[in-house]
Symmetry: C2
Subunit: 429 residues, 2 copies
Amino acid sequence: MKTIRIGLLGLGNIGTGTYKTLEMNKNQIQSSTGVSIEITKILERDVDRKRDIKVSPEQFTQNPDDIFLDPSIDIVIELLGGIEPASSFMLKALQNKKHVVTANKAAVAANYDAFMEAAKENQVMFRYEASVGGGIPILNALTTALLANEYEEILGIVNGTTNYILTQMTENGLDYADVLKTAQEKGFAEADPTADVEGIDVANKLSILISLVFGVRVTPDEIPTEGITKISMNDINLAAQFGYKIKLLATAKKVNNLLECHVQPAFVPLNHPLASVSNEFNAIFVKGNAVDDLMFYGKGAGPLPTGSAVMGDVIEISRAIAKGAAFDHYPESKAVKTLKFVGEGQNKYYVNLTVKDVPGVLGSISTTFGAYGIGIDSVLQLSKDINSKREVPLVFILHEVTRSRLDEALAKISSCGYASEVKSIIRVM
Amino acid sequence: MKTIRIGLLGLGNIGTGTYKTLEMNKNQIQSSTGVSIEITKILERDVDRKRDIKVSPEQFTQNPDDIFLDPSIDIVIELLGGIEPASSFMLKALQNKKHVVTANKAAVAANYDAFMEAAKENQVMFRYEASVGGGIPILNALTTALLANEYEEILGIVNGTTNYILTQMTENGLDYADVLKTAQEKGFAEADPTADVEGIDVANKLSILISLVFGVRVTPDEIPTEGITKISMNDINLAAQFGYKIKLLATAKKVNNLLECHVQPAFVPLNHPLASVSNEFNAIFVKGNAVDDLMFYGKGAGPLPTGSAVMGDVIEISRAIAKGAAFDHYPESKAVKTLKFVGEGQNKYYVNLTVKDVPGVLGSISTTFGAYGIGIDSVLQLSKDINSKREVPLVFILHEVTRSRLDEALAKISSCGYASEVKSIIRVM
């Protein structure tokens, strides 16, 4: 039986989970693939850390070249995280004709073209299933079983931390700050939660999905991105009244030859399958011109689910090596990009205003929206005073409009003195 | 660019959908795979039928050997449906070194071993993604991206007709017969709905999933199978009261070295992701020892979704042909089957009885359940009389028990004269 040898960069939580996934299922993998997979070298400084796997001290090295320059190593798994030195290491591995598997969304999103170029130049395989949606095999499906589709739209809940926080706020009526604290205690949120709660992690994943699905590069910092830190219990309760749940969504959509995308909290209708994705679960929803609506649901993080995705990539490459076919077809880069990236595009919006409690205000505001060409889907005027001032909350669900047009209309409404505060603006799906 | 030539058996609805899927997405398929795929010959008697695709009369043949014996044809797509002559045709194609792709669940479930054997003997590829879950790429995921898992359980809603009927009954309070009639008018149900509503179609699909997931052959007629024809609005309303929806589920579960499986209507908890799968949608839920819970959701039928799955298989084989690697690793057949098939196993049950409205009945029935070792999870005694007789409905949710043990207890309860009727017994997830 052929043995495939692996060099592993990083034996932290995810590295340990990957090692364990292979250990647990070695027989199953061998019998169904006909190859034996061995992790022979590990780049990791922390040799003595307690891990519940069997690693011998001789497997460890502190010198990455021990892996890159070892001709017996077929595949390099990168699980260091962060853009550097992970990206340089992966490029070096590819240049040394190693196939590369990674779970590193930040590095893949930042250097996608460079990795593809290096893989093509060296005729090796580069895989990154675990970088989006953890254990969910979405990238594999998009690049194999679903290829007979032109993709029209992709929507995802791809960050478990923020979905956990929003679910707990919704189900238990708890405030953002309290839930974040509990999430940190339970290990669902990092000590510094910025990358998660500000949507940066989601933007990395959306950038990768867009590259795969639409063949267009949009870097994470080009994606209009908003996190969940401004979402209040008031917004969540109002969403429920209108028949929605608030979710942090990654969205990319083709509208004729334009590509719209954004990372934003959004009102998701209760009967949409994404609305029932709770807590730390992730889901990716994709629409193809033949297959129509599809959704993939599962654990978006965690050592073993991520290990499952990493080892799935390793198995694909190992089988290809065993068949003497471990290379990919790389599409010619299109001379003319057919899709033009245009930012977040037109959307429906929920707008929560604080307005003066005087006759004619609703009419004036509605008229102003109309003057800016913005239709009103529904409106809710609540009667109770806020802080005993003569002000009332006025909530609109507005029809499709660009965000910049909406902002202009709201500036006009504020300047006329009708509204003293724009409390929230949230996209409606 | 290499051209892959296809012989298509059958140009009915699914055949036309498959042809159309290829036509619509030809450029996309070529650019991402580097091969050109052409359907060159079609076995179909009905040449003149109006179809919204461009087929020339020369593509048609009435003689299957024109396809099987044509050395220029690489792949045969079988879309005739039914066990015969489809199975004989596919075997003949495999024996003539053609790769075979099919959407035919009845044929695959009936002759799985023969197809595998023929594919192995002739070193060709046999694929059947579209036979389970229509457009949902579940078989591909189970045999590639998820291979680093030992599978523990698989659950599926894999019949759109019955899911549509149950959804309409649940959401609109309509009776089974009325919904079936509407479904037939809308084309969601066949004129003869037996295979769907009696669970036969689902048993075929479960048999295929079990072969793939657990490596054990359980033929469709070995699977304990019950359809939805006995489900009443009363059951659906009571399910809702207890916090469940009724779904027709295919289930297979490993319990130590035993395999339990069945096709039955079941109470699905409202917070389970399968509960929100509505109307004609399908979903397959799988639990792996690394990836944990995963669910795949999409259209389980229809010409284009099925065409997407068929063409996905064709693309996989075409890429492999282009790489000179169009063969599979076939696992050695295990000398000792490690999993023993034991029927439906232990489950929780909902039992709806009509009992005499006299003091002591609840106590006596509860005591009898206890004597048979059956625990009670919840109980609901309704007060209103039925047909003005002195009888009342008494509903139990019972803890895990084998169905045979439950039947013994119910026979005892009936023989003692407490219960005049066992109205329903439905599994609880």
